[in-house]
Structure formats: structure tokens, C-alpha cells
Symmetry: C2
Subunit: 193 residues, 2 copies
DNA sequence: AGCGTTGGCCAACACTTGTTGGCAACCATG
DNA sequence: CATGGTTGCCAACAAGTGTTGGCCAACGCT
């Protein structure tokens, strides 16, 4: 099964539908969450038979795992104007969220599924906390500071992209950066209050 | 059917199981979200037959509506040391969240169900925005300021009570007040950045 | 006692879900 | 041409869902 020693005869057209399924899955998961996004609905969106989804991705969990891959490249961020890191982070997360809607899906699912929740937590553990340790004072406070940053960023994502509060959706990118930037900056670098 | 012109003969013992069902429903909804919290599971928790749930609450939606009633009495808050309103609000929300877990249920459900999302939004509309209008400068900015406060508070609730990030759970009540208080204060009262 | 009302359970319905196996068409290679 | 693997669809399965109606036991009344 897909174990190919010499599979170079031009991409089979299955790859096309494979991608189509994945795209449909992303949209559905983002829009409806895990349970309400049924395989049948996803297959219908992709103009494909439900059984094909199973063939390509094994089961629903596998499809979800494939649909939502997350890695905000935090280590690649410019830390340099150190008093600007708050704004930089907010901008980074905003583009991240607007470019791929899978993040919304991940939040919707994480609200009920522990596995997805842990997946979000891994970003905190492996990227945000190290960043906080690197950029802020008193390294042993890094987890707390990072958690606060996460709550600020995810809170905005929640009200804006998941719950879609009109007042939150109405905020412009610049407003958000101007308001949230200093908050993140303080959470990361300010001395303990 | 239940159309009673004269139903005053002392609380029937059905009220007891009625309450038992409601309690079980709250826990299940909070723990599992709307779809995964099945009527059968709730009934099992309440040591009752599933059909009783239907009899008492009509249908699943009705049960959820009854289980999750939310009204943070924001208007009743002391606004007075006006430079303390940030801390006051954070403390208020923390106790609110710790006293009744239905709020966690509401967030879990709001992540996928638009009706529940709107229900959360109503709190913003009817209580937070008026508060922001009353306490902050430039009343026409009240929606934006209130939305930012909501994102901060809900973000913490998300990471702490829903996703249960260890780093967020580890925060003490005082730490949270000390960190989030100034943030809310700034969102509400600071001049436009 | 007999009566109706109430609180409760059981079994079943109709439906949707994820998932599986069999079968028809294609397409490149021998 | 034949062959074998790929790509796809159809029909069905078993399990779980919300929901309904009928039946039984206990209680309060006259």
C-alpha cells in the first residue's frame, strides 16, 4: 500500500482528489467542528463517495489529523527590537489565523476533544514557553507568562474567528496590534506585578 | 398537558428528579459538550430513564437551555474606585466561573453551536458594552473596548477551564488578578493607543 | 373500596453515523 | 489483446442517536 520503490510515472490523479478531500475536510471541520462535520458531508463537498475518504485516510480521526497540521514558526521570529516583540507576535498570529482556517477548526474541536486540546497545548509547551524563557526576566516564570500570552491571543481568536462577535470582527488589524501588542509585551517582559 | 390553572398543592417529588436531571445535565454538558453529552448518558448519571428527560424538558435543546442560564450581574458591580475596575471585573469573572461550571459548558457548546455563541454574545451586548460606555472615554468606542475585555476574560477561561493548559491552571487567583486586571483596566479606560 | 392522577420504566421507532466489501470502469504495461 | 492494478461508486452493515407511546405501580382523594 503506497509502498513505492519506483513511483515516478507522473502524479496519479488520485492525488488530486486526495487534496480535494483534504480541502473540503478543512472547511467543514473549521465550520462545524468534529462531530457535526460528517464524513458524508465532506465527501459531498468534494464530489466524491464517502468510502473514498476512508480509503485515503483510514478513518475520521486520521482525516482530521491530516487536515489540521499546525506549526507557527515562532523560533523563526525576529526577536530583535525587543520592545517590539509584543506587536510582532500579534501580527504573526493574525496572519497565521487569516491564512489558514484550520486553526479555527482546531479550536472548535479542541473545545471538546482532549487530543486536539493537547495538540494546541504543545505549541505553548514547545514554542511559546521557550520564547518567554528567552525574552523575559526570571526564566522560572516563563510558563506563567507564556500561558498569559496564549490566553490573550486565543481569546481574540475565539471571539473573532470562532464565536464571531460582531464587535470583535469589526476590529481592524491595526487596532488589534495596537491594543494587544502592549498586553503581550507586558506579559512577556514586565517585572512581576 | 401541564396546562394547570390551579397547581399549588405542595412541591411534588418530581421536582427532586427534575433537579437531579438538571444537575447531571450541567455536568455532562460541561464535560463533553453538546453532541457528546447524550441524553442517555445524562439519564444514566441521574439514575433515571432517558424518556423522563424528554418528558420534563421536551427535547435535548430544551434541556440545554434549562441547564445553562447565564447572567453575570455586571450592572450590580461597584464601579467606584474607578482605577480599580479592571481588578474588580477580573475577580468577579473568576468567582463566576468557579462557582458554576455551566459557563464551561456554554463555551464548549458555543464553539460549534451558533445559538450558544449568540447567547454569550448577548452578555457582551447587554452588559459589557454598556459598562464600557459608562466607564470609558469616547462612548462610540465602547463596542471595541468591550470586545477586547471579552477576549481577555474568555481567553483565560478557555486556556484554564476548557483546554486546561497546565501552565494556565497553575496560575493562582491573585496572579491572574494582578496580570489581567491592568489589561482590562487599560482596555476600558486608557486613551486610544 | 374505587377512582383518577402522577412518576417511572420498557421497548420500539426512525434516522444518522462511521465503516466495509463487492463490483464496474479505467489505464498502462506484458 | 490480455492482465493486473488503480480509482471510483453502490449498497449494506452495526452501532448509536433523539424521540415516542404504552404499560405498570404507587399515591391522594371521596
Amino acid at each position: 500500500m503506497t509502498g513505492s520503490t519506483e513511483n515516478q510515472r507522473a502524479a496519479p490523479r488520485s492525488d488530486a482528489t486526495r487534496a480535494t478531500i483534504l480541502a473540503a475536510a478543512r472547511e467543514r471541520f473549521a465550520a462545524d467542528g468534529y462531530e457535526k462535520a460528517t464524513i458524508r458531508a465532506i465527501a459531498r463537498d468534494a464530489n466524491i463517495d464517502p468510502s473514498m475518504v476512508m480509503r485515503y485516510y483510514g478513518n475520521k480521526a486520521g482525516l482530521f489529523a491530516a487536515a489540521v497540521s499546525i506549526d507557527p514558526q515562532l523560533p523563526g521570529l525576529p526577536v530583535e527590537p525587543r520592545e517590539e516583540i509584543g506587536r510582532t507576535l500579534v501580527r504573526h498570529f493574525l496572519t497565521l489565523w487569516e491564512e489558514n482556517g484550520e486553526l479555527t477548526a482546531l479550536m472548535r474541536v479542541g473545545a471538546t476533544d482532549p487530543a486536539a486540546a493537547d495538540r494546541m497545548g504543545s505549541v505553548l509547551r514547545e514554542q511559546l514557553i521557550p520564547l518567554a524563557r528567552h525574552v523575559g526576566p526570571e526564566p522560572e516564570q516563563a510558563p506563567a507568562r507564556a500561558a498569559l500570552c496564549a490566553s490573550a491571543v486565543l481569546g481574540l481568536a475565539l471571539t473573532r474567528y470562532v464565536l464571531r462577535f460582531p464587535a470583535s470582527v469589526a476590529l481592524s488589524r491595526e487596532e488589534i496590534v495596537d491594543w494587544l501588542g502592549p498586553t503581550i509585551q507586558r506579559y512577556l517582559t514586565a517585572p512581576t506585578p
